[in-house]
Symmetry: C2
Subunit: 324 residues, 2 copies
């Protein structure tokens, strides 16, 4: 089997996770990392990996089979994905759910002779696959997605923007009684507040007003006002000791019926490293993008379009024999 | 959208489950049930459904889009599946894991101008999908499949064949400490006995020897000897009250690592009716068989080959917008 030559564009947390996954895949070679930062400022997991300015990517069109796009969904990907998809097979983890159709159309228009798998993180990603699979099997039912326990970067950032806050981390925590209600076959009507709570750990600047900060967090619209939020003030030492990892996880549950019988399906993730897991999913889908492009299956694809056997290092016959 | 016309061949528990699922699907019509029994002996869920001798199926080639093959895996399907696949798009839930490649080859040879989706129950089925997906995402790990709590028909039948046994039901029960060990990120070396135990409820004939029956069960090779087995003797009244349902379920867990970080994935089912759930999965895959045959994707296919969007009543764009 030919080695799949991978490029990584964007070397933040997800890019590092992808580099780790690609480096340990026996059927892949990590060809280069592309960055907008100074290449010499980047410390890779392995000294033999080239780090190049992102402008150099186009010149490596024939040396890279799949480019993993590890930039952010807010501004990087909408700009970068069509550009890269015009030259490379790509995989990204674009996660702005509301804008996926628009994003997909733009990528699809560019992916004329390439395969571009979009939104292949874990939500969107396997969580979306489960929502679709579960609903298709048991149409009479209700699907629930719970996130956590885990760090939400967006919410942590929002706290850090408050005056007087030095460091902060926000954990999204599913509410166990709600999970149990669904798991036991119920179809409760759950508001955001009923499904998840938000626990915040905050390090403040000397002399900052704790009460004011706590109120600013708890009343912040969209981010915290609709949830039960707890705020704990801690010192830098405790922060560095207990709150620098990036765990996450969550569940997709469907509670439904066939006739009078209850049928419950559940998928859950318990991740010590969210970005490494995301990078691992993108790496599996890189294999799919490579194989699909070889078959001429061009254009923008999603996790709902890709047969599972394409993700594996094993060939289809082996998978059917060993895992079916 | 055109209605998908469904036939069901074989009207045991799974056939009845499939009939229920098809009858409630807005995009399907249950055209006929085919049986080897006397058609007039069959009570369908709805009087308008034709029940015909199985030999009549060939004459309805143009009136049925997908035939759901609901016979048994031991003898019915190996004979029936190639026969039906030569005329109809088919879906079956063939579950003899060791013989799948051979079975698939026979069906594939027959499905020249049809789409034949094989082994689309829940294991093989979604359980296989999870084993493949999980391993592809986290190659450094171990996958565990647990079955239960639920009724195993094969084990219940084995008990009923013992002299002096009037009725019996066997529940396969996963061992919680083993599940927890995997769930917490361990990779224990689990023998069959460590993963599941077998609880048997037995009604005996008047005067039968309880000790002898209990020993016969516990020492039965393959079925019980390799497990911790409990035997409870109950009367007919209790049997009819508490042990006539067909619940089942189980879990696929993968415990693995990306670098030093533990990553745990889990899929679980908690089913009040095993045959209705199996029939529901086959019904979702009937939609896939129909759509794939329209696209000329002929031959034998498995759940690892079918993109998820084909299973849904919703079109691809709607799924991407609503569920991705």
């Amino acid at each position: 089997m030919q080695t799949i030559r991978i490029g990584i564009a964007g070397y933040g947390n997800v890019g590092k996770g992808a580099a780790l996954a690609v480096s340990t895949a026996p059927d892949m070679e990590l060809k280069a990392i592309f960055t907008r930062r100074k290449p010499e400022s980047i410390k890779t997991i392995n000294d033999s990996i080239s780090v190049l300015p992102i402008e150099k990517a186009a010149s490596m069109k024939n040396e890279i089979d799949v480019m993993l796009l590890c930039g952010g969904s807010a501004t990087d990907l909408p700009e970068q994905a069509p550009y890269f998809a015009s030259m490379f097979n790509t995989v990204d983890s674009y996660d702005n759910h509301a804008k996926i159709p628009e994003y997909m159309a733009a990528v699809d228009a560019a992916a004329v002779k390439t395969t571009a798998i979009i939104s292949a993180g874990w939500d969107p990603g396997p969580f979306s696959m489960m929502r679709s699979l579960f609903e298709s099997i048991i149409p009479d039912g209700a699907t629930y997605t719970f996130w956590g326990k885990g760090v939400s970067q967006g919410h942590s950032d929002a706290i850090r923007r408050i005056d007087g806050v030095k460091h902060a981390v926000q954990y999204t925590v599913p509410i166990d009684s709600a999970v149990q209600a669904v798991r036991s076959g119920g179809r409760p009507d759950l508001k955001a507040r009923d499904k998840m709570k938000r626990d915040c750990y905050v390090v403040i600047e000397n002399g900052a007003d704790k009460n004011l900060i706590e109120e600013s967090i708890k009343n912040m619209p969209h981010y915290f006002a609709d949830y039960d939020t707890s705020v704990s003030f801690i010192d830098m030492e405790e922060f560095n000791k207990n709150h620098t990892e990036m765990p996450h996880g969550g569940m997709v549950l469907r509670s439904g019926n066939t006739g009078k019988n209850k049928q419950v399906m559940e998928f859950s993730l318990n991740l010590e490293s969210n970005p490494e897991f995301t990078g691992s999913i993108m790496t599996a889908y890189a294999r799919a993008a490579y194989k699909m492009s070889k078959e001429g299956l061009y254009g923008a694809k999603t996790v709902l379009d890709v047969p599972l056997h394409y993700l594996s290092e094993k060939d289809r016959a082996t998978l059917i024999k060993e895992l079916l």
